[in-house]
Amino acid sequence: MLETVNRVTRATALAATASAGTPEIAPLPDAARFALRLRPALASEMGAVAGFPLDLAINSASSGPRRSIRLGPDEWLLIGDAAEAEAIAAEIAQAFGERFHALVEISHRNVGIAVRGAHAADVLNAGCPLDLAAAAFPTGFATRTLLGKAEIVLIREDDAPTYRVECWRSFAPYVHGFLLEAARDFDGAQT
């Protein structure tokens, strides 16, 4: 009898492949990505390289087709169009010339996932301890952090709100599944 009283509805472990309601959780298309490391002094001297702004505040992201995300005082994540990967690498190498920098292509190391709509912050907060309220994490803010057990880069794109989650390829099934599972709490929930 107890089993009947306490019975819960169980979803099968791998049933959900896409979220239907809010927030929308959608894998993003391929992109060209680069990890750029250089001295902060050189970054402020250059201002921008190949269309990627470098003189950003730490933990902020630029917008536009070629965007950079400053993850730390000397580290940038550059995201561009997937078809332009080789062109971007060549342009950056040319712009720096002999000046010391390290550029590593990580296009295929990372996977992007968009989390969009009402309760997007709540879903992310299921595994991310940061304060994601607009006051603390406004549009244009971006940082490396944790989601559950996986390291992610979290970018707030707009006030929908849309968040972009960048994680390593091998963590992607875990991160995607984690987000879908967290989103089940808000199926049909009012804003």
């Binding site: 730490i58 933990n59 993850l71 730390g72 005082p73 580290e75 301890p129 940061l130 940082t143 490396r144 952090t145 944790l146 390291e151």
Partner: protein, 94 residues
């Protein structure tokens, strides 16, 4: 959750960090000239105070920078954090 102030990123949750033990321990500049006891003290002996302590921390899941923090080991309150190579403003040991 404990919030740790990173000098680059501001207050962040503790699970983004990795502790690095006591700060401001200088490696002997000429290790072959000192005896085993002095070398062992450099490697293993720590003050472990009850009260204010300077510690190294790494913001491993954030900006990945190392920095120092002054933490009260009794209350776990972090009074100040400062970049590597800097001195604390407060009354800590530097």
């Amino acid at each position: 959750m404990l919030l740790i102030p990173c000098p680059y990123c501001g207050d962040r949750p503790e699970i983004e960090f990795r502790g690095g033990g006591e700060a401001h321990i200088a490696r002997p500049s000429d290790p072959q000239t000192i005896d085993d006891q002095a070398w062992a003290e450099f490697l293993f002996y720590r003050t472990n105070p009850k009260g204010l302590m300077a510690e190294r921390w790494n913001h491993a899941h954030g900006c990945q920078r190392w920095f120092n923090a002054l933490r009260d080991t009794v209350s776990d309150r972090i009074l100040e954090s400062y970049k590597m190579g800097e001195k604390p403003i407060g009354g800590g040991r530097a």
